[in-house]
Structure formats: structure tokens, C-alpha cells
Amino acid sequence: MRQRRRKSRDEDRTDSQAPLRNVREVGERDDDAGAADFRRPLSSQRLFWRRIGRWGVVSGLGVIACTTVFPLFFMLDNAFRTQMGWYHSEIGLPTASGAAAFSGAWVDGDVGLFFRNSAIVAAGSVSLALVLAALAGYSFGRLRWRGRWSTYVFLLLWMAVPPLFLMVPIYVEMVRLGLLNSYASVILLYAAINVPFNTYLMTAYVRLLPEEVLEAARVDGAGVHGRFVRVVIPLSLPALATLCIFDFLYVWNEFLFALLLLSNNNVKTLTVGVLEMTGSRFVTNYPVLMAALVIASVPVIAVYLFFQKYLVRAIVAGAVK
């Protein structure tokens, strides 16, 4: 009993406090155990250097952190400048007041249209991938049928094939299916690219759902379909949310297949559309381009800031399991 209390106290401490700051406290307890022979008190000089090193490390990390925020700052800064201000120097205080560059990009630069296309593709592809993965995850994780292990591995194997090297046959297939320049082409393709990983994560999640709940639903007369709709889906919402964020970032930022499959302005997505603003058709208007880049980045950055927790969960689940 006493031991148990002590253990839980330890856990509290490690949760709330930093391991680094714990050292002395835990160390004192270990002195009794005679493990302190290796520890010598630090001389004031060594302590001094250690502190310098510590702040050096922190400021180093701070510099990296600044570089990660800099692109955002650079885009915003230049979106609020005039073309003349840009030529004068690429960095400095905004020279234009108001959001002329943004309206220029949204209306004249077709960015509004590209934004709509990206949104349609993202919504379609992410929801398709999630539905497929939820169904497959239930099947692999809960149902028993012959060959489910080999089918599962077969599905996961496609994760090892980089889709980029399939660009030639995928392009030709889309031409033959008559899907070129249609939302359907990229919606289906992105879903197919994301499904193996999504299925992997869903299977792992569904397998860990409490057996009792499913059993209770069975007793209440829910069949295979009923249990899926009324029990598995509601309980898997956290996993589905995680995958939703993960897939969204991929689809929104994908470039190569959007470039290959969507060449018509009416269906073109943001990544390709924004790149073409620097093309040879006319002299690049940098403030407008920067405004377009800001518009293209806002959804992903917002999603990241609000749903960071879910995204991290998807990455870690892919790594640790």
C-alpha cells in the first residue's frame, strides 16, 4: 500500500515537472542507497559554463524557431507592399496600406477559383478515404474471414511504392478513363494513395475498442452492419479526426498529380495555380503572388494550429506501433 502511494506520487511529479529539474530531488533519495559515489558537487566554474551552454542551446533552438516562422512573416510582409516597394528592397516595412494585393490575387489571379477547386478536391478525397478506411478497418480489426491477414498485408504493401514513379501509367489510365481534367481523377487517386495508411491506423484503433460494448450491441440485436454504424463509427471518431487532418494536409499540398491531371483552369488546384502565377505570361507581380501564397497557406496553417494534437497523434501512431 505504501509503495503504491509512493509510486503514484512519483508519477504525478514526472507528469507535472521536468525530468531535468527533478535530478537533485530524486538524487537525494538515492544518496541513502549509496549510489552517490559518482556524483561530485559541481565547481562554480563548471556550473557557469554549463549555464552558458544551456542558454547557447536555447538560443540556437530559438534561431531555428525564427526560421520556421520567417516564411509566414515574409509572405505577409510582402503581400502588404507595392510592386515598387518590392523592387526597392524585398524586406522592410509594408509600403501599401490595405489588402489590394489580396483582392488582386483572389479576383484577377483566379486564386478564388483555385481555392474552390482545392476545397472540392480536399473534401471529396478526404471523405472518400475515411469511409473506405473505416469500412476496411472494421473488417480487418473485428470481423473474422478467411484471408484477412494476407489481404491486410497486401493492402499495406502499397505504402512501399512511391506513387511518383507511377506517374506515367496513372496519367495514361486517367486519359483512357476519360477522367483527365475532372475532380474525380485526383479525388480517386489521392484516396487510393492515402487508403493503405488510413486502413492501418483504423485497424489498429478498431481492434482496441472494448469488446464488451460490441458484445452488448450484439445482445441488443444489432447485426454486423448495425454494430458498425451504431458502435464502431461513433467510438472511432477520434481516429477518424486524426486521419482527416493528416489526409487534408497531404491533399491540399499535393503538387505532381495535380499538375499532370488538372491542366484546365476550371479544375486546377491552388498548388499548380499559384506556381503558374510566376510563369512567363506576364511579369510577376510579387505582392499579388505573395498574397496568393498566403491564401494557399492559411487553411493548412489554421488546421495545424487548431488540430495539432490530432496530427501529432497520426504521426506518432504511424511510428510507434
Binding site: T67, F140, M159, P163, I170, A192, T203, V300, V316
Partner: protein
């Protein structure tokens, strides 16, 4: 039956193209007209193609990022794990580069590293004006600059992977090492690293695959292979052979070769993911 739609979509849009790629790698396919079987001639030509060698060499140079990607994020993750001042901020911001679209990053890089861009401005401020140049179009520096951008864009992802791995380690173990007087680097090398083998293996595999299979967007947006063919990579070669020169069979052969290489590496990743799952699925 529930798994059928997922398997179907993957088979139609990944599996069928894959089979088609294998078949057409042995043909002189041009996209239209009859398809002629040429045996292994494509592969012989690939072997003698100087541009292929140059591109593959460039990919290999980009693979130099692998050791950096394995070690630096590990150290950063450990610092965050140790709760250095500001760790919450670092944890959030370090992933940002992986959130920006590659196209956006590429376009920004083109401006930031240009002759009049802020990077040269910074050098000027530090009194290093003689170093100023167009970093992305000046041959000896273009590849290292892109390499730096790619490393910067991906390191946050690896930090997250390592942090996930570290949160699963028993706290007592690390504290015990510290008690024995182990300093930062020693703890990292002797205690953390050996216990994060899985995460490190994963980072190793993903960064190697990135260097060989995910460079296209960076190169296409930043330099389009230039100056000359200096920053060409195999993905550019596949793209141009197929969609500019219409040598679809030849492009398929290059694609197939690279898939064999990368999926051999990737296979180990899949084995890691499924290895321990088996008992649980077939219980």
C-alpha cells in the same frame, strides 16, 4: 466484404498502374500507336544514359541529408523532452515547415535566396557581403542550398516521431542515467538512442526514400533542374522523358528501377509496422 471498396480503389489506381508500369518498361511505348516489345533494351539504355547517372548522383547527394535527419532531430527532440525553456513554443513551431506546401516553400526560397533576397541581406548585415550570390542558380551552391531547404522542411516531422518514441520510454531509466553522472551527449548516445531504435530506423528509411523519390516538387519549383542539368534528379528525368520527349516506355523503365530500389527500403518499414501486429489480427 467491408474491405472490398478499399482494396478495389487501391487496386484500380495503384495496383493496375503498377502492373502496367512493369509491362511497359519492356516496350518502346510512346503513348499512341502500336506498342513494340524491346526486351531489356530500355534498361541497357538507362545504364548508358549520362543524364541518368548525373541525376542519380544528385539524388545520392541529397541522401547526404539522411545522417543529419536521423541525428539532429533526435538531439532537438531530447532537448524538448528535457523541457528546455520555451519547449512548448519549439514543439509547435518546428513542425511548421512540414505544414507549408512544398510549392509555397519553393517559391519563397526562390525569392529568399535570390540576389536581392533577405538571405543575402542578412549576410550583408553580418559584414559578409563578399559571400553574396544567387544561391540557387550559382552551380556549386545550388545543390547544397536545396539540400538545406529540404532538411529544414522535414526535420520537424522527425522531431515529432522521436518525441512520440521518447514519451513511451520509462522516465526512471533516463533519471538513473543522469544520477550516474551521465552528461547530455552521453545520455543521448548510450541511453536514449539504443532504446529508440525503431523510431530511428523509421526516420532512416523515410529520409532515404525522400532523397530518392520525393525531390520532384522541390526541384521542379525551385530550379526546374537548372542551371543546365546541375540539379536534375531521377524524378525530373522520368517526368521529362514521359511528358516532354514522349518516351513513355523508357520513362517506365527508369520508374520501375527506382521503385525496386525504394520499395526494397520501404519494405523494411512495412515489416516494422506489421511485424508485431500479426498475433493480434490472427488471435
Amino acid at each position: 466484404m467491408y474491405a472490398l471498396p478499399a482494396v478495389g480503389v487501391v487496386l484500380v489506381f495503384i495496383g493496375y498502374p503498377f502492373a502496367s508500369l512493369i509491362y511497359h518498361a519492356f516496350t518502346n511505348w510512346s503513348g499512341f500507336g502500336p506498342v513494340g516489345w524491346v526486351g531489356v533494351r530500355n534498361f541497357v539504355n538507362v545504364y548508358h544514359d549520362p543524364l541518368f547517372r548525373l541525376s542519380l548522383r544528385n539524388n545520392a547527394i541529397f541522401a547526404l541529408m539522411v545522417p543529419v535527419q536521423v541525428i539532429v532531430p533526435l538531439a532537438i527532440a531530447y532537448l524538448i523532452y528535457c523541457r528546455v525553456p520555451g519547449w512548448r513554443l519549439f514543439r509547435s513551431t518546428f513542425f511548421l515547415p512540414a505544414v507549408y506546401s512544398t510549392v509555397v516553400l519553393g517559391l519563397l526560397a526562390r525569392n529568399i535566396f535570390s540576389v536581392t533576397g533577405p538571405f543575402n541581406g542578412l549576410l550583408g548585415l553580418m559584414g559578409l557581403k563578399f559571400l553574396e550570390k544567387n544561391w540557387l542558380l550559382y552551380p556549386p551552391w545550388s545543390i547544397p542550398t536545396i539540400l538545406l531547404i529540404v532538411i529544414w522542411a522535414n526535420f520537424g516531422y522527425n522531431v515529432i516521431i522521436y518525441l512520440g518514441g521518447m514519451s513511451a520510454l520509462p522516465v526512471e531509466m533516463i533519471e538513473a542515467a543522469r544520477l550516474d553522472g551521465s552528461r547530455f551527449v552521453r545520455t543521448l548516445a548510450r541511453v536514449i538512442a539504443p532504446n529508440l531504435k525503431n523510431s530511428m530506423e523509421l526516420v532512416l528509411v523515410t529520409s532515404t526514400i525522400t532523397a530518392f523519390a520525393y525531390m520532384f516538387t522541390y526541384i521542379y519549383v525551385i530550379t526546374n533542374g537548372g542551371p543546365g542539368f546541375d540539379t536534375y534528379v531521377v524524378e525530373m528525368l522520368v517526368y521529362n522523358d514521359a511528358f516532354v520527349d514522349r518516351a513513355l516506355g523508357y520513362a517506365s523503365a527508369i520508374g520501375l528501377l527506382l521503385i525496386v530500389v525504394t520499395s526494397t527500403i520501404g519494405f523494411f518499414q512495412i515489416r516494422m509496422l506489421t511485424g508485431r501486429g500479426r498475433e493480434r489480427v490472427t488471435q
